[in-house]
Amino acid sequence: MATATQPRLLADIAYVRSGDKGNICSAGLIAKSPELYPLLLASVTPERVRALYGEWVTGQVTCYPMDNIEALMVVMRGALGGGATCTVRLDQTGKAMGHALLRLPVVELD
């Protein structure tokens, strides 16, 4: 359970599925329940995503809300070391990469 010193992580409130398209990693975050959706939106911003991945994401990050299914698409350009066919990373298609988003601390809303 969260305490004042230990913020909740996105892993506590959302699921993720990610994959590739060329050198773009596309990650869909899904709120575990509808009431957690506003927290998901507040907690994931392009700036926070860029800061999380550092040199692994070299391009633009865009977030697209999906109110109908309480989900957020995070589209990261320049995110796969060149793309599945030429990357030197093990996770060639970014299947595991999106799970790192679950490390982001949750921004609690009043």
């Binding site: 596309s26 899904i30 550092g54 040199e55 989900a71 589209v75 350009r77 793309g83 066919t85």
Partner: protein, 458 residues
Amino acid sequence: MKSSIRLGAGSGFWGDGMDPAMELLDKGELDYLCFDFLAELTMALLQRQKQKHPSAGYVPDAVAYMKAMMPLARERGTRLISNGGGVNPRAAAEAVVREARDAGLHGTRVALIEGDDLLGDIDVMLDAGVPLTHMDTGATNFAEIRKRVVSANVYTDCSGIIESLHERADVVVAGRVSDNAVYVGPIMHTFGWKHDAAHIDRVAAAVALGHIVECASACTGGMSSRFDQMPMMGKVGFPWFDFHADGSAEIGKVAGSGGRIDQHTIKEHMVYEIGDPNNYLMPDGVADFTSLRLSDAGPDRVRVSGVRGKPAPDMLKLVIGYSDGWIGESIAFFPWPHAFERARKARQTTLERFERLGLKAEQVHFDFIGINTLHGPAAPLPTPEQAAHLNEVGLRVAVKTHSMEEADKVRRAGANLWIMGPGGTSFGAPIKPRPVVSLWPTLIPRAFVKQRVEVLEA
């Protein structure tokens, strides 16, 4: 006219299980069973095979599947549609016809669809002023890779599939049609829809449903975040869907099969690799994934409705593959105590070996397996206290080079570690260097793409 048809997903990729497809064909009461076998890299690999052997270049599984399924498909009245023709749909279709004859299935009609392979048309497009700008990076220096191009396939719409079905094909073998065209095609054929303004939302609904099921078990519990709640995944059921003339659908699976279908498993695959969910661009149309509604429709059954869309795009996506050097890779593992320290020392030793061997590399990349292989900079390193207790740590090095000879130095440096490395250094089999095909995605006008359908009869 029928008010509803049932389509099954028979394969999510080249490498998927065949038994769930067979189960679906047997018990799913399907009108169509559809198979996606292609991925971005697959076309370049198949093109290379075709260059060595002119009769190769298709996905071998695509023929093996048809061989296994044609007898039952005829009994059940199910038509089979795949994109397993790869870069040689003609050879694949001829092989399917031979299998049909061998099985005594005379009269089986096998349609092949060509026209997506534009490897021979690149200069025509350049001469016509098509810039072939890289659609992701905006790069315009295509000339620099022109000589290294090995494949060029355009994602085509379902027009060829519609024509094949109109020609009474029992089996359709396409090349690089879009993944979900194998679903959109039979839907548009059944309901007589056109790529016109009157059908925008309904075609978008077909595109959306195609997307949801096209990776087969990925919407029935595969790849799930709730993996611990998915029963019998080794016996998972592949999805079918009943698509109605109004553009709504129910997704289900064979009763008693493994896995699960609920709103969550559908959501999980809705968000997979779609990019901008408001504009899911496919050659047949544009689906707005923020418009659709999900609702429960019984056990392991979910209803999808309300999909809105936009007209099909004017330009089509052409993916050009080009030779781009080599990758050499090596992996070793290190035991407790001090596993992480051993791995770090081995990294240092490897770098010294690279120096001695005079390695010329474009990129040198290290991972500590068990620590940061999958999340890189996003993964926190263990504290010294945590590190001291790790049971084992691996070291992976992957290096991109211009030549095979340079890439092979990585294998040699890795082998050197067997004795030069820290105590306890252990290995699997050495990894051979692999050639790299990089991709150059670009947009081209539809005028350069002409699908051709031919029906062969067994």
